[in-house]
Structure formats: C-alpha cells, structure tokens
Symmetry: C2
Subunit: 397 residues, 2 copies
C-alpha cells in the first residue's frame, strides 16, 4: 500500500544525533556524539530509597491517572525553586510539568504556529527543537550565532523581512550545539526586540544549572514583565534523562493552550517519577547534588580542552564553554565536513556534523559538535587524539 | 499581551472528562464520571520488588536516555504477545512503545493529516482521540454507532461524500463511551471498505483484554493483509495508568513516521517503567493478573446493571457491556441532558454528558456515560440510586 503522509512529516528526517546514537552499536567506536548526562550523575541510592517508600505508602497515587498539569506538589516545588533561585515567574505565569523539556518546546510551537508560520532560531541550534517546529508545519529561519549570542542586527532585520513570525527560539545559556552563552547585554536587547515586535520567545534552558566556570547571567524570563517568554526547563541533566520529566513556566493563557495540547499527546507525565522528583527536591539536597555534577563536568571539559589544545592542529578552532555538555569545533574551509565525519568513523571516533543543526537543511557547515559528559576520561583522551589524527590526514593530502 | 494562537488550538477545549475529574474535589460527590482503572487492579507488590531490583542491578539503563522506538526487550515482549495471543503483526509491521495509547492515536494523525483533512469516527467516541485529531487541524466527522458497531452503509456514504478522508478511527471492542462491541461481520466489512477506498484505520483497543462475558472477537488488525491498520494498545488498564506506557503495531513505513513525530514530542517513553513492564511480562503471570481484573470488573459491572435495573425508570435505556469500563445510558427525549447533569451534581452524583463525545461539538445528545471501575461498590449502589432519583424528579415535573 502507498501511504499518503502529511506534508509536515513527509520530509522530516529522524534526528541525526539519535540515529548516530542508534548506530553506535560497534563498541570499538568512541562516541563524542551523544548528549547524555554522565551516568555517575544519577543519585541512584536516594532515588531507590524514595521509590521503595512510594510503593510502600502511596502506590495508588503513583500508578493511577493524574492531572495533565502535573502532580501539584511537584509543580509547587518547581515554581518555588524557579522563583527563589532564578527570579523566574510572576503573577501572570504558571508552571506545569511536561514529559521532558522537549515537550515544552513542541507544545509551545503547536499553540502558536499554523502550517507555514515561521520560528526564528539561532543558527546552529538544537535539532530536536528544529524538528519539533517542522513537525508542526512551521518554517525555521536561522540567524547567525556570534560568540556572545545571536546577531542582534540580523535578528531585527529577519523579523522585519519575514512573514508570519510567531516565535523566537533561543538557548541563551551553554547553547546546544555551540556551547556559547548569550551576554546579559544581548539578553536585554533580545527582550526589547521581542517587546517591540510582539513576538513570543521560547527560552530553552536545559543546561543552565550546569555552570562550572564564570558568573551566572540572569535568564531572559527573569526580565519578562510583559508575558512574552515561555521558559522550558528539565530534570534530564540534573536528576535523570530517562525518566522524561521537565517543566515550563509561561503566562497562564499560553499554559492553558499547552495543557490542552499535552492532554492529547500523553494525558500527563509519568506520575511515579513526578512524585520521585518532588520527594527528591524536598527531602534531599538538590543543590549539593548539582554542585557534584558541575565538578564532574568541569573536570571532563577541562580534560577535553587540554587534549584539544595539545593535539589538534591550530587551524581547528573550538569554543571554551563555561558549562553545559558541548564543545563546538570549526574545521578549516579546505576540509569537507561530510568526508571528515566519515573518515573519523573509519578511525573509530564519532562526532555530530554541524549540518545537523542548521535551520536551513541544505546549508553547508564546516563545524562539528563534541560532547564530554558521556565518554569516560580515557575515551575523551583517545577520542580527541583520533580526531586530531583525522584532521592531519586531511591536511597532509 | 494579546496572544495570536494557532487555528488548530484556538478553539480546542480541555476534555470535559478531565475537567470534571479536576472539579471533583468535593468528596461528597460520588463520581461515576471517571475512566480510571480500579486501584485494587495494580500489582503493587510485584512492581515494588522488580523496581528495587532495577535500582540495584541496572540503574543506569533505567535513568539514562533510551531509544525513541522503545526499550528493545519490551518491544519484543509486546510484539510476541500480540502475535501469539491475538494474531496481530505481520512481516511488514513493527511494534513500538509510546507514552500511553493516547500518543499512538495522536502520532498517527500527525503522520497522515494536513490541516483541513478529515478523520471519520464512530459517533459518539473517545474525546481524547477527537481532540488529538482537532489539535492537528483535522476535521472529525461522525458516523452513527449501532448496537453491533458503526453503521456500514452510512460509513461508505460518508467516505464517498467527504473530501480528503485520511483516517478511520474505531474502538471496536468495549467502545468508549458506548460500551458496544463491533460484531465480527461488521469488522470484516469495515476492513473491506478500508481496502476499497485505501483509507488507513486506527484500531484503538485499550479495553480489549478486559472481557468478562461473551466470546472473544478477532481484531481488525488480525485481518490486515494489506497494511491498512494501525493498532494502538496500552498497559494503562492492565498494569498502571499513571506510568503512561502504551504501544502501537503498524506497517513499518507508518511506524517510521510515527517515531520521527514521537522523537520531537518526548524523545522516548519513561525508561524505568518500560523496563518494569518488560520484567513484569516475563517474570510474573500477566494473564493471571488480567483474569483477576476481569473478575473485579465483572462483579462491579453486574452490580451497576442490577442497580440500574432495580431503580431506574423504564424510560431510561442502558447498554450491557461484555467488558471494558463503561455503560451508556439514554434518557427519554423529554429530559434535557444539560439540565439533568446539573441536577445530578446538585444531588451529589457526577456523570459525563454525551455531548462531550460528539464528533460535531454542536450536536445534541440525550445520553450519558457511567463508569463502574473507579467507584467502590457502595458508591455504585448509592450513585445509581441518586441518578434514578434525579430522573424521577424530571419525570414528575
């Protein structure tokens, strides 16, 4: 039978990263391609203890249907933490629980975009968000990302010259894939532009708590006096990725649309793990746990940067993140990215080609993403050296 | 700020049922409105034991990112069970794990429907499916449901007279809300019509395993020689609703579109509970557990039917289900449904008005849905008597 698929999905390809992840069944290949939290960052003992207690004392609540908005005590705990620690959330905002930060992004797009509408993004940006926009039939238009955030002039120009711009999607802190953090000055300018053109901003912040160097910078949401910002967060990088628990904080009207959309996607988020998150937040020391994760990533990032400095030919440029999971490497223009990635895999090391993160799927790239949270120290050292050798192969051609 | 929401969500209302569920905070109101499995149907002890073992022996797999398609051992166990027990799944089919049966329905619609396309449904039908179709911008067109399933002549007529029909959505077994089971003869005719007009069928079967009377009837998917049927199932009614684990079995090409769409909605389903399901299926006796649930529902349904027979004025008609969770009651035309539901709540008993299940949201109804799985025996007896009194109030007016 020939199937007549919807236009919005007909051209959508699976995420290159998740496909790479899937194909990494060859254990001899070192993957610097993933975006997984370090396995040693899961607080297994505490979660096991709380789980046993939930099964003992409140199994029915944990196993029964719950509210689409989320388990009320968890909503409250998250809203309090956002408010007290990050000055996020005003009287007109609500916080709801979603099935991972990814769902918050997708629901926001569904709430705002008709087929053919446009979402403006940093270029490069997170492929999962790009595909979420495309799966709703929206166009993705990229604006150049500079060392201190999106190019402000080009952003305003793009808004002026593009029809039906509905959303501006940004990862201001430890951007995926570039590892870049948007400066405070640019955050303020972005907010002013959003206000001027009445465009809703999705501020995606899955890595914000993973700062291991430099100074905290206020989120754009913390400046949101007008109800223009949808803030998406997640427990994936601070408690467990596999449990799929995230949250969004946005103006009530937007939240109520997102909740209706969530109801038809999955009814609600896994109840047991919502209770587990709530108990962990209120009975354990989440901040101390996060401090421990920062230590792990500071060490791993430093190791990878040191290996890059000591081994990589000087023509290869790379970012120096102050947090998050990723380093972004740029090859000299003489090297073809597609050929390079293939040669790297032949040399037993995998990276994600920059083309995967382009808003315009046809646009070229000469960069690739490295991850330091998932590989072991030994794999980081060996992987970077293999990559450096691969570069040298091309330079010597 | 005035928000400019998407057309598809602008008019979408939250599910009336889930809104009723939310408003039932008044403990003095007996709810016959829910659709929750009986709390005593959760195998708490076994799940607790397996959970402790997962935390002890495989915590990293359970807490780390997984594959969008689902945890491979669970996919295999589900595919085997569908094949061996229900003759579901051929060489061209795949089985993937989704976040509750609801997600399978929504993903299938996203894969096939452009904004403005049509999904034909039984009328009345499950509100969660109706809203999933609407949230993708699809129109829902209802075809009359008779005692033995959808009206076949009207179905064919509707297909002929409607533009861009992409999907036919059916709950052939213990239909929600009507409690009706489609006869084998009609199932065969439906399949022939799908084949003739090349229309993909979503066979939603969340209640199929809950038969407590009568004889098993083969699913439409088991007749699917051409790759026309998407089968959606769920663990919600046989293990736990709150964990949000369901599955879909469909032709590979459809599954690969659904997987791309799932990737951008929630990346993958909660890993821990996928492992829990797999371990429960392979280490415990799922069939014996389901037999126990059938016993509970047989008893509860019989109790409710007996109370209806003994107390309800004869002018009120009701279905006699052979399984599932619901009884469908039809009021005499002299009684206004909206007034009746309000009066029932004033009398401290809640039901779901039939209007909530109409494909055409403006169409009238003089029926309501009763649930017997969630209330206690005492609540069933008292609730039905309160309803009967409410009917008598109207008859005596």
């Amino acid at each position: 039978m020939e199937y007549n698929f919807s236009n919005k999905l007909a051209s959508l390809k699976p995420s290159a990263i998740r496909e790479i992840f899937k194909s990494l069944s060859d254990p001899s290949i070192i993957s610097l391609a993933a975006g997984n939290p370090a396995p040693e960052s899961f607080p297994v003992k505490e979660l096991a203890k709380i789980s046993a207690d939930i099964f003992e004392n409140s199994p029915v609540t944990a196993l029964q249907y719950g509210l689409t908005e989320g388990y009320p005590p968890l909503r409250e705990a998250v809203a309090d933490r956002l408010k007290n620690k990050f000055s996020i959330g005003r009287d007109f905002d609500s916080t709801v629980i979603v099935t991972g930060g990814q769902q918050g992004i997708e629901l926001t797009c569904k709430a705002f975009c008709n087929e053919g509408d446009t979402v403006i993004c940093e270029n490069p940006t997170f492929i999962g968000a790009l595909n979420a926009f495309r799966s709703n039939g929206a166009n993705t238009v990229g604006v150049e990302l500079e060392d201190d955030g999106i190019n402000i002039e080009k952003l305003e120009e793009t808004i002026k010259n593009t029809k039906n711009v509905k959303l501006l999607y940004l990862i201001p802190t430890f951007q995926n894939p570039a590892g870049i953090t948007t400066s405070l000055e640019k955050r303020k300018k972005i907010y002013e532009i959003a206000k001027k053109y009445r465009i809703v901003v999705i501020e995606d912040n899955p890595y914000g708590e993973l700062r291991f160097a430099g100074k905290e910078i206020p989120t754009i949401k913390s400046m949101d006096t007008e109800g223009l910002v949808v803030y998406c967060g997640s427990f994936s990088k601070i408690l467990s990725a596999g449990m799929r628990v995230g949250f969004m904080c946005a103006p009530n009207e937007i939240i109520s649309k997102a909740v209706v959309a969530k109801q038809v996607e999955d009814v609600h988020t896994n109840m047991f793990f919502q209770m587990l998150c709530h108990r962990y937040m209120t009975e354990c020391d989440l901040d101390a746990h996060i401090a421990g994760i920062r230590d792990i990533y500071r060490r791993k990032c430093t190791l990878m940067l040191t290996e890059l400095e000591n081994n990589m030919p000087e023509c290869v440029k790379f970012t120096r993140p102050e947090g998050g999971l990723f380093i972004w490497c740029t090859l000299p223009e003489s090297i073809d990215l597609g050929e390079f990635v293939k040669a790297a895999i032949a040399n037993k090391v995998a990276v994600v080609p920059g083309t995967a993160f382009n808003c315009d799927t046809e646009a070229p790239s000469n960069a690739f993403r490295l991850n330091y949270s998932t590989p072991s120290d030994e794999q980081i050292v060996k992987g970077v050296r293999l990559l450096a050798e691969t570069v040298k192969q091309f330079l010597n051609k």
